[in-house]
Symmetry: C2
Subunit: 358 residues, 2 copies
């Protein structure tokens, strides 16, 4: 099988640690390796290194090549971020050209997985289902009424594959409000949309052709120029015209083809905010529930997260659920419970054109 | 008259802006000049520059000489801080040697005064009373039940001098709790102890002889070596033996001589904490009551004080009454209402021997 690691995200909710030049997936925010390296290492037992594709923004080419200098991974650059549909399409045309109609698993570079063995078993099962020409997704069994995720309503069970039940997807639903999320979780019929999919290149390209014809046209042009010295110019050209659209919205919510979902119970998080990271790293907290990276001095402080890898001393007095993120040129101090709003800082920086801080 | 500006404080409640090498009185925390310069400029209309003494810690000699390079001020160094009694005694022996028994006004280098004309008028009146051989202090008419200040209980009015009523001091009292402070203010009989005194050198040295005989003995030895090349060695020697003791505790609370107090109504603060500074600079706050120095970006933030003169960007999300102090090597994030507890940080730094941050 082929594995496509999508690493084009901008990670604005992890500002100021995450910057345009080095976004979230390149940061060591959990453990001693970056998320993209951890994702690579997690899937590498599934296939040969060269069958793992990293799809990145071209501005991270050098950084990626440095991180993977010892690996025979395949790197595909996008000239600009256009969300997941163009990214997956790009990988699909390369893969089809490269190897034929082999199952491909696409997954984000910046997620956290607790049980890696269980994760790989689920991906293996998904690839097996995808081999039949089906669209397959991994749905996460929800553990709380999370409003930050999309949900998948599962339908009838179709089969069982290596102990994995396979369900039909009834529908994909957008991020719910809290009462709706609570109902979803109580019903037992909903799963979190993990953004992890399996299909063959032909399957997904047919779907893109059906629902995103403009994207498909660009991908076909590109496919003709792969290995030609006109490829880069064509890539720039088609990406300039691509809409920014997700595979969920552009294909999954519209397809008439059956979509299957495999429930995953391997401990998953999209690490979507500083608060999510604080929750994930629960075991590293002190007895007052503080999580600290760096040199800190805490007085009467609890439930706070201080991320200060640059080595400056951070002293805290009388804080409760505070977030402090210290970087050499910019500092964030926020209510930890409002870490979703950190993206408002980057929006404001864009508006002010304070580009050096983006 | 002579004016003694006491600039030996360590300013630990203003950490991390205030450091051992450059404490509070050398910082531009209000306006564009340091507090010590502002204090000098405030009193300089009262006398010749050479009659203004700066008593500093020897480690700030170079810094002080740079700040006052254009001024003919007299600088006296203390080998170590021993609180106000030795500091005032040192100035008194120099002054007696230098000029005779002329009234001296002693005042801290790091206070804020709103009405400088009224302040100078009060000091002139105090010097006139001191000329008679009396001990005189300035008491501030309290505007709130402040628990961070000592109080003075005033007795009978003795006279009126240039429109300034002069009262006998009944007693000096230590910092009260809130109910006591509230009673004090309601009674109309208490004033805040400003730490500003006037007396002649002979008067205060007689009092030191009576109540702090060990200090007096050291001062007399020192006086004999003034202008001799043995002075510095003797200074080091006597300061090594001096106790650390305030003039209030060592003399004022014990003297049997009448002490007079002149009420001051010139708008005074000892600028004792980040919160006090935030209150003082009320006019500079934005419509959400935020006070900022430096480059900041505030989202849903109110009643907060961000001091970031080093030029780094500080972004805030969802804060209320937060204090952020950013310096090149250390950062403080605190509940602004707990800024008295900032000194606990420096205590902890001493305990840990993290000397580079002190």
């Amino acid at each position: 099988m082929y594995i496509i690691i999508m690493a084009g995200g901008s990670g604005t909710r992890f500002w100021p640690a995450s910057r345009e030049q080095k976004p979230k997936q390149f940061l060591n925010i959990i453990g001693s390796r970056s998320l993209i390296e951890q994702t690579f290492l997690r899937v590498s037992p599934l296939t040969e290194e060269k069958n793992i594709f990293l799809v990145i923004n071209h501005i991270h080419r050098t950084l990626t090549e440095q991180l993977f200098a010892e690996r025979r991974v395949t790197i595909l650059s996008e000239p600009r971020g256009r969300n997941t549909a163009p990214c997956i399409g790009l990988a699909a045309v390369h893969l089809r050209r490269h190897a034929g109609d082999i199952p491909m698993i696409v997954l984000p570079a910046d997620h956290f997985i607790a049980d890696e063995d269980a994760f790989r078993q689920t991906l293996r099962a998904a690839a097996t289902v995808a081999e039949t020409g089906a669209i397959v997704t991994i749905g996460i069994t929800p553990t709380r009424p999370e409003t930050g995720y999309g949900y998948i309503l599962k339908g009838a069970q179709q089969s069982t594959l290596s102990e994995h039940p396979v369900f039909l997807v009834e529908k994909f639903v957008e991020k719910p409000d809290l009462p709706t999320a609570t109902e979803y979780v109580a019903s037992g019929r909903y799963l979190w949309n993990s953004g992890i999919f399996a299909f063959t290149p032909n399957t997904i390209l047919e779907e893109i052709a059906a629902h995103l014809p403009d994207v498909y046209r660009g991908l076909r042009q590109l496919e003709e120029h792969i290995s030609a010295n006109t490829y880069q110019a064509m890539l720039d050209d088609v990406y300039a015209r691509f809409p920014s659209i997700s595979i969920d919205y552009g294909v999954m919510e519209k397809t008439t083809r059956p979509v299957y979902v495999l429930p995953g119970t391997f401990g998953w998080s999209d690490v979507g905010s500083w608060q999510a990271l604080y929750e994930l790293r629960r075991d590293e907290r002190d007895e007052r529930e503080n999580l600290t990276d760096g040199r800190t001095l805490l007085i009467d402080t609890r439930r706070s997260f201080i991320y200060a890898p640059s080595g400056r001393l951070v002293a805290a007095v009388g804080l409760d659920h505070l977030l402090v993120v210290d970087t050499p040129d910019a500092l964030l101090v926020a209510d930890l419970r409002r870490s979703q709003d950190v993206r408002r800082v980057t929006e404001e920086l864009k508006r002010k054109e304070w580009k050096q801080f983006l």
